[in-house]
């Protein structure tokens, strides 16, 4: 596998993406914006970005043309909530799991970006199945704050991080209660105290400003400075005596408090959701995104009124815990129908590895439209829930998970309907670069598909 990846890297280096113009023509194209697929459309990529997508797009003479007749073409899947790239193996494989820091002193200050390993097997496996970007969150350990998550791509190169410190992740439901010592009440007061400590430090922070570099989209985005470079660590940034957070942790919450960094809040039960809506009113600068929200349908109108986006579990339908008593697969559909901006993530659901299941889940939500009494999604809405939806939730709409002009050139050509699990990714582009689809798994298939003994052991087949 290493060999395969290295050779892929060499190929990528030999043909710089910047020079490429690629036209994917004649496909059944869905842009990920919520609309259905369009017949006979073209997707044009140049310099790693989407130039145009739709019918009647002119193909420049210098373009490399790929015929997608009979195929489906969509933006790459965006794993709405994941731990992709943080672990190669989840259990009992020392050194191969960086999802949480049980014995570390820090919480909110944790930044997952340095822990991402682009060469981990699950990145390749998900890439080969059309997952091109992922929101990667750390998991909590001894604090309600897990730390800062990143947005990554799954490309076969060493530059995985699209956006470091894209969001802070906090647990305010059952897990948060446990992290806080045993109750939700404790979690909430810890949360308020953390914001108090951040507010104190924010006096020493630099004024809010925008980046000068980057694409037009990026220029309008708030910048979260690397906390290691922050002035709030200096000796002049004084703190009260009665603090609970380390200086790094409190400083990491300054951009959250200032609304320069998204705050993903994991809650499931209806009453916990309402508590978060109250927090959003009280601390109006927070840019909150709800994560999980299995009982969201019970308070869907209130979530909708708050305008807070939700990254939900798609098909939770068991009262798996006391915070998911009302769980139903119709949750996502009911929230959407109520006007909630809802997309799909893999919340505590094989979140390091099985992100490719999201398109199956999305398809299941389409299937619900045929079940009497259930509320599902249209095909276009379901695709949006796993492409543009999570991107919009964290302010990256139009950049990833979309075929909007200017977006990252992440495109998948599918053998068929991507929301039907029987379809496969036949070609995957990330930032306009065609990706290798070989994985540890495909190599094993080649080695073992014929078992009869040969002149040399299996170990010599590669």
């Amino acid at each position: 596998m290493i060999r395969a990846v290295v050779s892929a890297l060499l190929v990528a280096a030999a043909t710089p993406a910047a020079a490429q113009t690629i036209a994917i023509v004649n496909g059944l194209v869905a842009t990920g914006d919520g609309s259905g697929p369009v017949q006979g459309a073209t997707v044009l990529l140049r310099d790693g970005r989407v130039v145009a997508a739709g019918q009647g797009v002119r193909v420049p003479p210098d373009a490399q043309v790929i015929d997608a007749s009979g195929k489906w073409v969509t933006p790459g899947i965006v794993a709405g909530f994941s731990r992709l790239g943080l672990a190669d193996v989840d259990l009992g494989a020392n050194g191969a799991d960086d999802t949480s820091a049980r014995n570390g002193p820090f919480s909110a200050a944790i930044d997952v970006a340095p822990a991402i390993n682009p060469l981990y097997t699950p990145i390749a496996v998900n890439r080969a199945d059309g997952v091109t970007r992922a929101l990667v969150a750390p998991a909590t350990a001894k604090s309600i704050f897990a730390g800062q998550g990143a947005v990554i791509d799954t490309g076969a190169d060493m530059d995985a991080v699209t956006k470091a410190r894209a969001f802070q992740f906090v647990e305010l439901g059952e897990t948060g209660a446990n992290d806080a010592g045993g109750s939700r009440a404790s979690a909430h007061i810890l949360f308020r105290n953390a914001l108090r400590e951040a507010r104190e430090l924010s006096r020493y922070a630099q004024p809010v400003r925008s980046a000068r570099e980057g694409t037009p989209d990026e220029r309008s985005l708030p910048v979260v400075r690397n906390p290691n470079e922050s002035r709030v660590y200096g000796p002049e940034a004084r703190r009260s005596e009665d603090v609970l957070l380390t200086r790094f942790d409190a400083a990491a919450l300054v951009p959250v408090l200032q609304g320069r960094q998204y705050l993903l809040v994991h809650v499931e039960r209806a009453s916990d959701i309402l508590q978060v809506l109250d927090l959003a009113r009280e601390f109006s600068s927070l840019r909150i995104v709800l994560v999980g929200a299995s009982e969201g349908w019970l308070v869907a109108d209130r979530i909708a009124r708050s305008g807070i986006p939700v990254i939900a579990s798609a098909v939770n339908d068991l009262p798996a815990s006391f915070e998911q008593i009302a769980a139903t697969q119709s949750n996502v559909g009911r929230m959407l129908a109520a006007g909630v901006k809802v997309s799909i993530g893999m919340i505590d659901d094989n979140d390091t590895r099985q992100l490719f299941n999201e398109r199956q889940y999305a398809g299941n939500l389409v299937g619900l439209t045929k079940v009497p009494g259930a509320t599902g999604l249209s095909w276009g809405e379901a695709l949006a829930a796993i492409t543009s939806g999570p991107a919009k939730a964290i302010g990256m709409g139009g950049q990833i998970g979309s075929l909007t002009p200017g977006a990252h050139g992440d495109v998948v050509i599918w053998s068929g309907d991507p929301l039907d699990t029987r379809s496969a990714a036949e070609a995957v582009f990330i930032d306009g670069v065609r990706q290798p689809l070989e994985t540890h798994q495909t190599r094993l298939l080649e080695r073992y598909r014929y078992l009869p003994r040969r002149d040399l052991p299996e170990a010599y087949r590669y």
Partner: protein
């Protein structure tokens, strides 16, 4: 019958005691008293059904056959007939138009922990692993099953699961007995037990036992420890069986009963089927040799992530491989999981089975089979089709549970365990529309009252909701 046998044995024993006292003949062994092997018998009784014919649907018979525009007739709890559009439907039979829909045997999951690890997943209800000793063949999963687990209903209405095997967990080398259930709600587990289904023994190899006990400084701490302890246990079991064989043959003093050894004796006698949790190819080979060393048969390897590496060995030894479609990497022994595992095992001529081990995946086993089928076809594995793949969902599982003569396919005379799907069940968009168990309609998507609601969910938000 069991009761009668017990009574007559007791009567005989009493008679021989009396005769001893009266005539004082030369010392002679008292005849053996047979132990009741079914002390927690099934009380399941099928619910009444309406004679029903489904016409015009695509039918998977479960044994590899497919009928376009098929007809399936159910009555008296049994499949009465299956055929094409010309199959005559007797008068008085309710006819369901299945045009555009699909009919299959009910899905059978051979690996579930519903009831033992129910929802909600709280400590008080966590009853799946008797992780107090690596050798616990004396525990029976049925004694942990909470019939009010809401998961049973989800498996029925979303997954079309009509029969399932509940296994103890895999913390132990010998985890205990399994139980096979009909997915029909009841107040007691006895009320769900599949009548006459043989018991299974859950065994485990690999990481779990060595992690659970090794971390406590106990044996097993290694894979060699796993095997050594299992072998020592089988040596005891063989001796135990010998004692009882002699007793049953010659009578005399009844040997002391050992509940753990009773189960292993049942395995050695072929009455209890071995369901062996085992991921890695090399470990499966070790388990096969161990089974030969002690003279028992392994019915199925569960979670056989590396089955594709030894599919020939599994075929030659008549062992089923019970697999996921695409799980991998959640621990080291799952590192080499590949998406073509199921079709490769099938193609080698071994018995392939799709399983869940999960209260969510059990609701989508048809989709798991669909993924495996599609991956297999893309890899160029020959002779695969939807009808062939349905064997992984019902007939092969029924074989592994020892109930294939009674369910698992739509052969006349078999239990009418049937699903009507609203679309091709290999599509991600398909859902069960109706599910019959023993001919009784247990789920109807069009009838909100024809879906089970567990006691736990009564009066709670979402009671009776679509799930």
């Amino acid at each position: 019958m069991v009761l009668n046998r017990k009574l007559s044995a007791a009567a005989l024993a009493a008679f021989s005691l009396a005769s001893c006292a009266a005539f004082a003949p030369p010392k002679k062994n008292a005849p053996a008293i047979h132990i009741n092997e079914d002390p927690y018998p099934s009380t399941y009784v099928a619910y009444p059904g309406v004679p029903t014919a489904i016409r015009g649907a695509t039918v998977f018979d479960g044994e590899g056959g497919q009928i376009a525009n098929g007809t399936v007739i159910l009555a008296d709890g049994k499949v009465q007939a299956i055929g094409g559009p010309d199959l005559p439907v007797p008068a008085g039979v309710q006819v369901i138009d299945g045009t555009g829909k699909f009919v299959s045997p009910g899905v059978i999951d051979v690996h579930s922990h519903l009831g033992d690890y129910p929802s909600p997943g709280v400590e008080s209800l966590s009853d799946g692993n008797e992780a107090t000793s690596p050798v616990r063949p004396e525990v029976w999963a049925e004694h942990s099953v909470w019939p009010q687990d809401p998961g049973f209903s989800r498996a029925l209405v979303n997954g079309g699961v009509t029969t399932l095997q509940i296994l103890p967990g895999s913390a132990n080398l010998f985890g205990g007995r399994s139980v096979v259930l009909k997915n029909v709600p009841a107040r007691t587990v006895q009320g769900m037990k599949f009548p006459g289904a043989p018991y299974g023994l859950k065994m485990a190899c690999g990481e779990n036992p060595k992690r659970v006990y090794g971390s406590k400084g106990n044996m097993p701490q290694t894979r060699m420890g796993n095997i050594a302890l299992a072998r020592e246990t089988w040596i005891k079991a063989v001796a135990y069986k010998r004692k009882w064989d002699k007793y049953y043959a010659k009578g005399g003093d009844m040997p002391e009963r050992d509940l753990a050894m009773d189960t292993l004796k049942g395995v050695l006698e072929g009455k209890i089927l071995v369901h062996n949790h085992c991921y890695r190819a090399d470990e499966m080979a070790n388990m096969i040799d161990m089974s030969k060393e002690f003279g028992y048969h392994i019915t199925a390897f569960h979670h056989a992530v590396e089955a594709y590496k030894i599919a020939d060995l599994l075929r030659d030894n008549g062992i089923c491989a019970v697999m996921w479609a695409d799980w991998y990497g959640f621990k080291m022994e799952a590192y080499d999981g590949i998406k073509e595992n199921i079709p490769l095992v099938h193609n080698a001529g071994a018995c392939a089975i799709v399983h869940s081990d999960d209260p969510n995946y059990i609701q989508r086993l048809n989709q798991e089979a669909a993924k495996a089928l599609a991956d297999g076809q893309r890899a160029g594995i020959p002779n695969l089709s939807e009808a062939v793949a349905w064997q992984w969902l019902s007939y092969n599982p029924a074989k592994a549970l020892g109930i294939a003569e009674r369910t698992g396919s739509l052969k006349p005379g078999k239990m009418a365990d049937v699903v009507l799907w609203n679309a091709d069940p290999f599509s991600t968009y398909a859902r069960p529309e109706r599910v019959w168990i023993d001919g009784a309609l247990m789920y109807d998507a069009n009838d909100p009252k024809r879906r089970p609601v567990s006691d736990f969910e009564l009066g709670q938000p979402g009671e009776g909701d679509v799930k």
